[in-house]
């Protein structure tokens, strides 16, 4: 362990950073696209069905295959990895946003409209805040998927902690494999923890003790 850190310490930091970069970017894109899309879909329930099944289908493509499919389009490196992982992150966020929005008490939406909120005001001030816990659990789920799958990005030359693991596999070097796996696990746990904190902060209180 100490030996691994001595010989690969600085490399570890760089690879971890790459991993965070790839995963973080994918998730961020996923949130930016999937949350508004999920909200939009609640206004078009008929279209929603089709969009949901398309994203579900994308989800079923094996991850290595999806990464490989990116190569003819985007070449190798970080860009194709981010695109592929972004596609994976979409479904849980989209589905949870859609469900979360649909589950908001119709009475409240009716009251919001009846008191004179515009559709946008109702979405931003009432519906999204109420749906926040469900949306956030989608984001957390996506984040864990994407962090672990981003290990595979090394396969198409994106770097990251996957480099250790693949090298370890090639060289029959267990300490390299473990040295890559443990940080990935820690990253996933840490990300989930931080998102949990974030969720608490952005989910509005409904009791004073929670405020």
């Amino acid at each position: 362990m100490i030996g691994f850190l001595n010989s690969h310490g600085s490399e570890l930091i760089i690879k971890t950073w790459e991993q965070i970069y790839i995963a973080g970017f994918s998730i961020l894109l996923g949130v930016i696209v999937a949350v508004p899309l999920g909200v939009l879909l609640t206004r078009f329930p008929k279209t929603a069905k089709y969009v949901m099944s398309i994203t579900s289908m994308l989800q079923t493509i094996p991850s290595l295959a999806l990464l490989a499919l990116m190569i003819p389009i985007f070449g190798i490196g970080k860009l194709p990895s981010i695109v592929a992982l972004f596609i994976y992150s979409l479904l849980p966020i989209l589905r949870n946003t859609y469900i979360g929005m649909a589950k908001v008490n119709r009475n409240l939406v009716d009251a919001a409209k009846g008191m004179g909120m515009t559709t946008m005001q109702s979405i931003l001030k009432v519906e999204i805040p109420m749906a926040m816990p469900i949306i956030m659990s989608g984001v957390r789920l996506s984040t864990i998927y994407v962090i672990s799958w981003s290990t595979l990005a090394s396969y198409i030359g994106a770097g990251g902690l996957g480099d250790f693991i693949f090298n370890g596999l090639n060289l029959y070097n267990p300490s390299l494999i473990i040295g890559g796996t443990i940080p990935v696990t820690i990253l996933a746990i840490l990300a989930d923890y931080l998102l949990g904190k974030l969720e608490k902060r952005i989910t509005p209180a409904t009791k004073r003790s929670e405020a």
């Binding site: 009475n107 409240l108 009716d110 009251a111 919001a112 409209k113 009846g114 008191m115 004179g116 909120m117 515009t118 005001q121 009432v126 805040p129 109420m130 509005p204 209180a205 409904t206 009791k207 004073r208």
Partner: protein
């Protein structure tokens, strides 16, 4: 009130869903300051009719005029900010404090913070809740308290008309009663116009100044509560009101003159006692009302008194009693019947405005009319009364 302005009027309005009419031929006029109740069975179109007023629904046919202008000319969002809206289960935002809930519309209208704070304090007082509730969340209040906030919130931007859709349906009877008093206060004291959907006739009769009865999407009757009670349009309305209320209502407007017997046995002051006895035997009664020559009521005289004081040269004017009660012909039965019956008078003379004797109300005739509805059967038990000599003195009161 007499010349109150129209605030909302429906002209031949219909709402049709996929070929099925939810409401049709609606013609209603709502005046400023009225408390209008829409009442009817489930699915009769109450909510549909109400929601067309703030353009939550658009009529399929017809026009709605709001404050003198076709409702379509208003921007729906701006229109809704001028119309209070209260729904069942209060519709308070669970993630906003009571204060933020109350000032939701003022915030949309971009009021200053100061003005909003002041409004919040004013309205929490109106809701009769302590000021520190402003910082609480809805989940920390009881259902009744939440709905109090729901009601006063509808006034936050000084709306002068408020729509309420079965606002108290989910509350227990006592809480509901209190909230009914609150909304009645808003209408009576603050002059708000209230449109109130309910399927509870007691609630409608307690609150409304104007009732619109709906059935199968049509307006069956549109009138004041009194007129509806007096002249229910059809059997549907009668059923909705119920037998008991109709009976009660009938008594409510019967006057003493309606049930009195005319030409009661009477005698004038100047007549002799023997003439009085002869009159009594002619009418088979044991007492006579006493009038002067112009038929003004003076008192009464009964057989017992005549027996005690009999002397040839005495006249009625010497021994008649003048301590009698009498009623005016135009007074309402509901105001007098209880007094007459409870005090045990056998009958009461009826006079007009200048004390001229015009009739008599006997206990028997009263009982016929009032019997069932006012006290029910068990309270009117004075079986021996029927055999005792009729008397109009107060002395016959039962111990």
């Amino acid at each position: 009130m007499a010349t109150a302005k129209e605030i909302v009027s429906f002209k031949d309005v219909a709402k049709i869903y996929r070929g099925r009419a939810a409401v049709t031929d609606v013609n209603i006029t709502i005046k400023e300051g009225e408390f209008v109740c829409f009442i009817g069975t489930s699915g009769s179109g109450k909510t549909t009719t109400m929601r067309m007023i703030n353009r939550m629904l658009e009529p399929t046919k017809g026009t709605i005029i709001f404050k003198g202008k076709n409702i379509k000319k208003y921007d729906p969002v701006k229109l809704r900010r001028t119309i209070g809206y209260v729904i069942q289960n209060n519709g308070l935002m669970p993630h906003m404090t009571i204060k933020d809930n109350i000032t939701l519309v003022p915030k949309l209208l971009k009021w200053s913070q100061e003005k909003m704070d002041q409004k919040a304090r004013e309205l929490i007082k109106l809701a009769e809740l302590p000021e520190n509730y402003l910082d609480m969340f809805p989940a920390e209040l009881s259902g009744g308290q939440q709905q109090r906030i729901g009601v006063v919130r509808a006034l936050a931007a000084d709306q002068d008309i408020i729509l309420m859709d079965e606002p108290f349906g989910a509350l227990d009877p006592i809480t509901r009663d209190n909230l009914q008093d609150l909304v009645k206060h808003l209408q009576e004291t603050l002059g708000k116009t209230i449109v109130f959907v309910t399927h509870d006739m007691d609630e409608a009769l307690k609150l409304a100044t104007h009732i619109v009865i709906l059935d199968g999407g049509k307006v069956i009757q549109d009138d004041t509560p009194d007129n509806i009670l007096q002249h229910p349009a059809n059997n549907f309305v009668k059923n909705l009101l119920g037998e008991e209320r109709l009976l009660q209502a009938q008594q409510d407007t019967l006057s003493v003159g309606d049930i009195m017997s005319k030409n009661p046995a009477h005698i004038t002051l100047g007549k002799s006692l023997s003439e009085a006895i002869w009159e009594m035997s002619r009418h088979h009664v044991d007492s006579l009302l006493v009038t002067d020559d112009s038929k003004k009521l003076k008192g009464y005289i009964d057989l017992e008194t005549i027996n005690d004081h009999y002397a040839k040269d005495l006249s009625v004017s010497d021994i008649y009693a003048n301590n009698l009660i009498k009623v005016r012909a135009n007074s309402y039965l509901r105001d007098t019947s209880e007094r007459i019956l409870k005090q045990g008078y056998k009958y009461v003379p009826v006079v007009d405005s200048d004390n001229t004797l015009i009739g008599i109300v006997t206990r028997a005739s009263l009982v016929n009319v009032v019997f069932d509805a006012i006290w029910g059967k068990d309270e009117l038990e004075n079986p021996e009364d029927a055999n005792l000599p009729a008397s109009i003195t107060e002395g016959s009161e039962k111990a």
